[in-house]
Structure formats: C-alpha cells, structure tokens
Symmetry: C2
Subunit: 359 residues, 2 copies
Amino acid sequence: MPDSALDLRQDAARLTARLVDFPSESGTEKALADAVEEALRELPHLSVTRYGNNVVARTGLGRSERVILAGHIDTVPIAGNVPSRLDEHGVLWGCGTSDMKSGVAVQLRIAATVPEPNRDLTFVFYDNEEVAAHLNGLGHLAEAHPDWLAGDFAVLLEPSQGQVEGGCQGTLRVHLRTEGVRAHSARGWMGANAIHAAGPLLARLAAYEPRRPVIDGLEYREGLNAVRIEGGVAGNVIPDACTVTVNFRYAPDRSEEEALAHVREVFEGCGVAELVVDDSSPGALPGLAHPAARAFLEAVGGEPRPKFGWTDVSRFSALGVPAVNYGPGDPNLAHKRDERVETELILHCEERLRRWLTS
Amino acid sequence: MPDSALDLRQDAARLTARLVDFPSESGTEKALADAVEEALRELPHLSVTRYGNNVVARTGLGRSERVILAGHIDTVPIAGNVPSRLDEHGVLWGCGTSDMKSGVAVQLRIAATVPEPNRDLTFVFYDNEEVAAHLNGLGHLAEAHPDWLAGDFAVLLEPSQGQVEGGCQGTLRVHLRTEGVRAHSARGWMGANAIHAAGPLLARLAAYEPRRPVIDGLEYREGLNAVRIEGGVAGNVIPDACTVTVNFRYAPDRSEEEALAHVREVFEGCGVAELVVDDSSPGALPGLAHPAARAFLEAVGGEPRPKFGWTDVSRFSALGVPAVNYGPGDPNLAHKRDERVETELILHCEERLRRWLTS
C-alpha cells in the first residue's frame, strides 16, 4: 500500500510523480479519492463533498463568477510503466503522466495555493473516465448533484499540450442495413445480393464533402466514415443482409437531432432498408465569448484550437456550462506504454492558471 | 450394431430403407463399406477391389464400351431422422433417403440383377463426399487408382429427381482486398478509408452481366457474387483494410485459368490492392454427344438440364470421362431434417437404367 498522504506543498511536477505512483486504474480509484479528499479537507477555505469516489471542493467567497476546474483520477490499465521515472531532460514517464495526473496535480496545487481567487472555484475530481460512458463519475455527478457542477465556465485539465482546446465535436454512430434474398451462389439469379446493394451507400460515403464550419473563431472539421462493414452467410450463399456502421463526427453547431437528420438525408434513396442508432453523444460549443472564458484565454495565451475528439467538456455543455480542455499532457501519448509529460509544461500550466485566478 | 448383411434381392425402395437404417455419417462409413463389399463379392460376375472405404466392382465382358455408375455412401450428420419411415403416400423419410442412399440402392440393384449388361460396368461406392474436398473418396481413388475409374461415360446417382443433369459449372472464390490508412475517426482526414474504397468494386459486381452460354444443347448460367465482406477496426477508427470475397460460378466452356483471368479483368482498375484465390474447382462439360451418353438419354427420356452446382462429375471430367447426374432423390431436400424420397421414383430410375443397359 502506498502512503496515503498527499503533500500539496510539493510543486506540481513532484506531485504528478506522487500521483502516478499511486495506482488508480478505472474501478480502483477509492484509495486515491480518499487521499484527495483528506488533503482537501485540510484546506480551511474549501468545503468538501463526496459522491462515490467523486470529490468536489468549493470556495464560497461570493464572487460574481464561478469557474470549475475538473479532472478524472483514473487511468487506463498500467502497462509496466509504474512507478514513474524522471529522465535527465525533465520528462516524467509513466501511466497517467499525460492523461491526466499532471492535470490533477495542477488542480490540487491551485486548490492549495490560491485561497482567495478572483472567481469562486469548484474543484471536481471524478472516477471511471477511461471506461464505458455509463460508469463515468462526472456523468453520475451531473445526474445526482447537478448543483455541485453549477458555474459560468469550466476548464477540464485533459491533455492538450498547454493549448486551449475549445468545445468538442459530437459523434453519432449508426448501423445501415441493406437487404437481399438468400440463394445458393450456383443459382444466384434466384436471390438478391445484399452486399452488392451496399455499393451505392459506399459511393455516397466516398463522395461526401465534410463541412469545416468556423465557430467562435475555431475551425471544426466534420467527417462521415464507414468504420465497419459486415455481410455474408457462407462461401456459397448469396447474402441477404449487409451492415455498414457509419460514424459521423460533427461540429458543435449541430444538435444530436440535427446530426441524425443529416445522416438520414445523406443516405436517402440509396437502398438502406434500416437505420439504427448505435451511439450518440452531442458536441459542445466552445463558449469562448463568455467573459470568464475571454479572461482565461488572455491569461493562458496562445491560439485556441478546436477539439475534434469527444471529451467530457460536452457533459458541462449539457449542463449549460461552457467548457474547454487545457492541460499539460500530450493527447497523442495518452494510453501509450511510453506515456510521458514535460515537467516544465506542468509548472507552466499551473502558473498560467494561477495568473488567471489571481490577477 | 445393425445386422451387417445387405440383401440385394429386395427391391430398390426396401433396400434404400435398409441403407438409411445403416448409419454412415462421413468418417464412419467402414461398416457400410464392409457390407457393400461383402454383398458384391457374392456376385460371381463382378470383380471387387477396395481402397480405404471405397469399393469398386467391375464386369469384364470385353464390351466395346464401359460405363461407370458411381455414388457416395456417406451422409451428413443425422438429425433425429433415422431410422427411416415409409408413409402412406409411398414416401420414405430419413437422413440420406434423397442424398443419396436411394441412388446407392439403385446401383446395388443393377449390380445384382444385370449380370450380362450390353456395356461393361464399373460400380463405384465412395466415402466422405459430404465433407472437405481433400477427404473425398472419389478424389482419393482418382489419385491412387485412376485405372479403376477408366470408362467412356459415367452416371453419378446424385439426387436429380429422375432428370438428367449434364456436366457442372466451375466455381472460383477469391478474396479482393482494398487498403487504406488507419486514423481516429475524429480526425478522419488523416486516414484513408478502405471500406469506402470497396465501393467501386461493389458497383462493378452490381453491374456485371453474366453469360448464359449453350453447351451441348444445355443453357448454363454464370454468376459473379460477393459472398462475404469484412472491414473495420473499431467504432472510432478509419479502417485500413476491407476484404470482399467473391464467388464466380462459371459455365464449363471456361477452364479454371480462364475463369481466374476473367475475374482479374472484371476488377481491373477499381482499386483492388490484392487478389487471393481461396478456392477453385473446374467445371465439367456435359459430354452428351458421346454415343454412350446419347443412348443413355434415349433410354431414360426427358430433357437434360444443366447442373449449376459443383458436383463430383467434375472429377470424372478431369479424368476424361464425360459424366452426368441422374438419381431418384430431390436435391432441394438434401441435408434437410425432413429429407425424403418418393419410392416410386427409385423404382423408376432403377428400371430406366436397366433398360439402357440391357436393350
């Protein structure tokens, strides 16, 4: 068992190493949630609550704005890359260094070192982000205690290499089924080939021209892609069914319903017998026009980028809270055996956030 | 254990019932092969040889022509449909009634009752027809003892409802692979979609116009069909590979090589990265112009039909022996739980063959 105490006086880089050495694969976060809760309860300017292994701490200074700093405390399964290792270039290696114990370290440092922020703060630490959506701790909080997540703006400290990533695209996955009539392939004219019937559908996909809309100054890029195709009964049978699974990644100016309507329209008249929605998650508008967001952008600097992949900012968006990703990790290293983070970037992010919340 | 003796004095319908009640699923034919061999050895006008569970019996009358009557003694797995049952309409139910113990009964009856045929006769009883091609007893005989199968014409007593089915079509199965580049579907423009790339290939299949060549007076019908399609990595990944399995059923005026060349030509220039041959079996020309075949057609009557499915007549064809299917079973009932045969048709087939071989 690791020593359960977290020393928030350490700098964010050392604290990251400490958190990485405190394993918390999804589903096993309790010990770390306990340690986070205990450390936060030591801070007299915060009121701390807990729901499951989700810990929420808030200032209550009566400021006119409230901002949320959120991060998940779980990691993907460890792949021989714990404990952490700091190399001679100041790079910290290990599971969760990038995604996202470095971000959690920054949250904890702000909590410990900014007792009188210029905006009220809510710190959210949640579990089960790396597994199925229905287990997600932020989702559980949003359902059970939406008031704990109330605020004007949220920063999710997911890896973004110290750049602001605004909003996120939505994702819709549908199964498109074509139909035919089975027959022995030696007497193919007695059947109707469902795989051949998928041809027009694939042609429509190949010809599709995705939009690149600009929203709040960020250019999003949509995409409509077959991610799976399956058809066939046996090597000598004309198949009576074929299913193409299509993933639509769409910019956050479309709602879930609009995205589905668009997909239906794209495949109209090309022989789809059935369209079944497999998965749907809305996008999130970047919300960069909000005063708190504008101040944040000014403080952290750089050019905000759109987020193409789906992230938990969308959960805040669904609660009416504009949100961005901003964290020290590199998203391209997340979930990899050679996951790592530049310690300098951790300190840099901590410093920028402190500047935003104190100036 | 069933009584091992076969009484060839019974009529072909009763003998069929006896054979059905003598289980011989593929791989378990030894007892039945023993019984067939024993019964044939009782007939002084035949010389009997054996190779594995394959039994061959021949007359040696010095006739100018030799014809072969061939049938397999195995069945598909029994499906609660043994022992046989004769209903009040003269229909015999049970596993193998149609495919093809009724045909085997006719062979045995001809062997027993036509001691001085007008053409020399070779009776072939072989195993493992219902399983993988490399196990097929006729194939083993053709390899080890091709001289045992020498002849001018062959009749395979496979189910054909008492109609002559001439030759058989060839079959070629190929895997056509398209390629792409993997990427996260949220950043689809960084990849290339291999499923989309299969669209032109499916369009080519849908537009394909199969030939209907007439050979020896029989109209064949070719067909080119996708029988399987598979592609996809995960619900959020642009797939880098897609495989379409295509089955070409071709008329016996094409050789295997010509069939493959044709398929290559059909898919030229539509983005196929790789073509792999999965399975290839040549067709068989009907050979109905041969004098023995003409006499056979006259004796049995009816209009000969082309055989679209692949059968063992092709093995005879490869040995230079024209061959047809002619048997009392119904091919549409083969392999079914409610497999059955009209006993009248068994007697009819026996009678027609006897007429051909004695008149």
